[in-house]
Amino acid sequence: MRGCLGLLFGLCVASSAQATLDIEITGAGEHQTPISVVRFGGEERIAGQTISSVVSNDLLRTGLFKLIDPAGKAPHEPGDVRYVEWAGVEALVIGSVRALGDGRAEVRFRLLDAVRQTELIALAVTARSDQVRAIGHRIADLVYEKLTGSAGVFSTRIAYVNREGKQFRLVVADSDGYGEQTLLSLNEPIMSPAWSPDGKQIAYVSFERGHATVFVQSLATQKRTVLADFSGSNSAPAWSPDGKQLAIVLTRDGSSQLYLVGADGKDLRRITFSETIDTEPAFSPDGKTLLFTSDRGGKAQIYRVAAEGGYAERLTFEGGNNFSPRFSPDGKSFVYSQFSGGTFYIAVQDFESKQVQILTPGGWEKKPSFAPNGKLILFATESQGRGILATVSSDGRVKQKMVAQRGDIREPIWGPFLKQ
């Protein structure tokens, strides 16, 4: 059995797809910084993309920038820039790529303040020539951070499940949906991927043993271990911020209840003791509390409980049913999916004011999660009968849909910042 799985898995690992998305952006930020990203000198198309196009698209998707066409101007060094030609542009990205002959390339990039006519960032990096996308994302992160004051999330990754007929694939991709990598492919359902805080492992639910079982898989080695395989359903893994334990949901004692378990699968402790459904635990950033979904009040609503258990406080009262809570990175609010009048909406509630904001127009919108900088929310929705990825800015202003070319996308979750 093991060998068979290993073989199946080996065949599926590291298959990747390029340019599989159709991206549509609507809305704009309150203030948009006019910026021009000039084609880099010597840059080549790799998988249909150049460094400068990766940078442009990243910035465009935030809704915070207005991309100004360089209109044929192509400076690559600060000395080439004639600022009088860039009226109306506040920031300018220029650079060049030089092949080093050993499969590596040197990328030089500068961010210029076109109003003050000063250099804001200058950087040279050497990387493998096939890593242009990663370099582009890194440059976009630096530009975004310099111009907005918030950390960029373009270099982070997302995970989701792609369902195509009976085939389920667990997929990791760049934050813009490109660079898909299949971690696991099964003819049984896969659910609820969850990133470890260091971004090195993913916990998820698989039905390959005939019932819902929680696995943990290393992204680097692809090694898989079973975290929970009790009778009944084992599901809804969520990592504690220190990565030492996970909250999971088991039905071994009857209805779905919350448990804590060590990342090594030991030291199982039950947290909730209801006769009803308790599921979808999510740790607060400080690790002290859990949000979860429960129908203990008759309908599915969001509750909060101390991580060691105890009294659970109901947090949601609006809409019909509320599901899938996740904390914002600063711990001040939480995002969830509200089912009301036959439609799912993405909503955010502030802990202190208790104010609820509906961020989306409504649809089949499920499983929201914050980007690690708290500025964007990723969720699953539907477009023309297909399950797709979508994002909305945390103020609801900018929306984006990403349509994969095959299959239905489900269960997305945004990964953490990676320590460089």
Partner: protein, 178 residues
């Protein structure tokens, strides 16, 4: 797709009718409000040869032909409800009695849910539906060891439409002989 679903429903009816007298219409959307069988459109002539008169079913005690295991049938649920419905109790009780008389027989109860909810909530709901059917089976004479449960939540929809007919079909516990 519609035809396929209807075919499955009919197959269910035929199997159910052949082995036991119960099983009314397989869950019309409004079934919860109509406990009595309402003689659905799905009673075409082709079943007439084998099927007993539908009127006889309602008050009938769970009398079971011990010849074949009455499996490969299903019970259905209203939206976000996990309790076995009144019209399905006789079906479940009949199977419980059969299992009590055939201790070597085993059944797996597969709980399912429609897609209106989160996947995890629906996994939990499907498990509760299967668990509740199991409780009734055990009350009806089955041994715990004869009955296993599993939930597929919304992950294995039999009907894939986004409409009440599909959702109703997917809110279901299937009985599978082991």
């Amino acid at each position: 797709m519609k035809k396929l679903i209807l075919g499955l429903v009919l197959a269910n009816l035929l199997v159910a009718c052949a082995s036991e007298p119960i099983e009314e219409e397989t869950q019309a959307p409004t079934a919860a409000t109509e406990p009595a069988a309402t003689e659905p459109a799905a009673a075409p002539a082709e079943t007439a040869t084998a099927a007993p008169a539908p009127e006889a079913t309602e008050a009938a005690a769970p009398v079971v032909e011990a010849a074949a295991m009455p499996t490969e049938t299903s019970v259905h649920f209203p939206f976000d409800v996990d309790a076995v419905q009144a019209e399905d109790r006789a079906t479940v009780q009949a199977l419980g009695k059969y299992l009590s008389e055939n201790r070597a027989s085993k059944v797996r109860l597969e709980g399912n849910a429609d897609e209106r909810g989160s996947s995890e909530y629906n996994l939990a709901l499907g498990q509760r539906r299967a668990n509740n059917v199991k409780k009734l089976l055990v009350l009806s004479g089955a041994a715990e060891s004869q009955v296993t449960t599993v939930s597929y939540g919304e992950e294995k929809p039999r009907a894939t439409g986004h409409d009440e007919a599909s959702w109703a079909e997917n809110r279901r516990v299937d009985f599978v002989a082991k």
